[in-house]
Amino acid sequence: MQPETTPVSTGRTLPEGQAMLSVRGVKKVYHTDGGDIEAVRNLTFDLKAGELACLVGPSGSGKTTLLKCISGLLAPTEGEVLLDGARVTGPPKKMAVVFQEYGRSLFPWMRVRENVELPLKNAGMGKAERDKLVDEALEAVGLDHVPQSYPWQLSGGMQQRVAIARAVAYQPEVLLMDEPFAAVDAQTRADLEDLIRTVWKKLGVTVLFVTHDIDESVYLGQRVIILSSSPTVVQEDLEIDLPDERDQLNTRALPRFTELRHHVYEQIQRAKQGHRPAAATQAGSAS
């Protein structure tokens, strides 16, 4: 669109064979009747196995588009996504996605338990093993008391817990979350954030957590990947050097938390003003 040179995108990458999830030069252009829309220009970054990374960016920065490319729901226009070395061409077996719209991602005609069980049943897993995984998953999200309810009988936060349980029971290696807590109230949100940290530690799963909430990204992640505004590239790839044990009161009160939060906020503001990262400064943070 604009006649500018494509900036080198600049997420952290790992040597070949060490990444669980690799996003390589992903570009996505939507062809519409009103012309082409470039949602994502050029994104590259790697996640190592067991990492919890947050992806934060201004609204309209193509976060959801990127997530759809990673999950195999959309084919990137250029570039590729590798899961454990294999190119993603459709939704991979070892990946689960939790969407923002919990009300629209659970099957309203199935009870809570059936919702969690369905992907396993569909994969042809035996009844005994299925029951065990479903029980564990429901317990992990604190919903073992409502398996016979329908999702719409539950509050928003509980519905999102069901969606998380469904993802957990599926035993993915990579868990993608698309602004999962954007539509729940603040207190529920804090609980769910801690739930994600707990589940992540317990399962050792690789998590990519997309959010527009700066506090949330710093609180949750080991790493925050900041996206520029559209057309999207990586603005900065930031290590979060907070202690591993986090809790809502103490972690958020740490001076380092405030610093990191401040830094991410600044970067997002710069991104909104149209600042594009220069290749050189980004190479520095890639170490």
């Binding site: 729901l73 939704p91 991602s105």
Partner: protein
């Protein structure tokens, strides 16, 4: 108690209507309008006997076969057309055309092609009943929520499992709306198909009574049709409540919010 109350409410208006009818036919001798007493006498005489087997049951049989075939075919074709974009674009104008043809005009044509047979009558019923089911199924399949569809996709639910766990339940509210219309059209076509050319059946019998000036008997046949309609509607409601329990619950929650 609640059930009794419901029954009382349901029966109140019929009782009132019969009372009005009784009062307004007191002392009249209009040949064409029987009193409630004559009608019920004629009803018992006419329908509790051989006619159940010679006329009522064959009619109901054809109605059931026609309606069930229309529902099955309509849903199957609707799932296919609704899921495949090019097939939809390809068939839609033609479907609109066929749907616009009033099915009774097909009776003379089908009589020529198929003769005056049971199959002809069943085909007439199917040809009229299939449209609401087919078109509603297509719409229902098209309207599947994109997030729900993505969810199913990411969990590897595709092919037949997708139809069973996602497409059919998701389209069920619209399919049931189509089935409801299909039932009433079916009853109409059952009668019409028997009025044209037939030697038995409810439609035939009613016309026979009218032609032979057996007026109370003619009216009693109309009552039979009404009762069949009510019975079908009750069965439908019972089934619908079971299939769409989740949907009514969801709607209640949404409306309360």
């Amino acid at each position: 108690m609640k059930i009794l109350k419901g029954i009382a409410y349901g029966l109140a208006l019929p009782v009132i209507l019969v009372l009005i009818w009784w009062a307004s036919t007191l002392g009249t001798t209009n040949f064409f309008v029987p009193t409630p007493a004559t009608l019920s006498e004629a009803f018992a005489e006419t329908w509790f006997g051989e006619r159940i087997f010679s006329d009522v049951l064959p009619s109901i049989g054809r109605l059931l076969v026609g309606v069930i075939a229309a529902i099955v075919l309509g849903i199957a074709a609707g799932l296919l057309i609704g899921s495949v974009k090019w097939l939809r674009d390809f068939t839609e104008p033609v479907l609109e055309f066929f749907r616009a043809i009033p099915p009774p005009v097909l009776i003379p044509v089908l009589m020529l092609l198929m003769g005056i047979t049971d199959s002809m009558k069943v085909v007439v019923i199917i040809s009229g009943c299939i449209w609401p089911v087919l078109l509603n199924t297509i719409e229902g399949v098209r309207a599947i929520d994109s997030v729900l569809s993505d969810s199913a996709h990411t969990y590897g639910i595709g092919g037949f499992a997708r139809v069973r766990y996602l497409v059919l339940p998701s389209a069920a509210p619209q399919i049931m709306a189509g089935v409801r219309q299909c039932l009433s059209i079916g009853l109409i076509l059952m009668v019409i198909s028997e009025m044209f050319a037939s030697s038995e059946g409810l439609g035939f019998t009613i016309v026979q009574f009218q032609r032979s000036f057996a007026i109370p008997e003619m009216w009693s046949g109309i009552v039979v049709l009404g009762l069949i309609g009510v019975a079908m509607s009750l069965i439908f409601q019972w089934t619908e409540r079971r299939i769409l329990r989740w949907y009514h619950g969801l709607r209640e929650v949404e409306n309360a919010a």
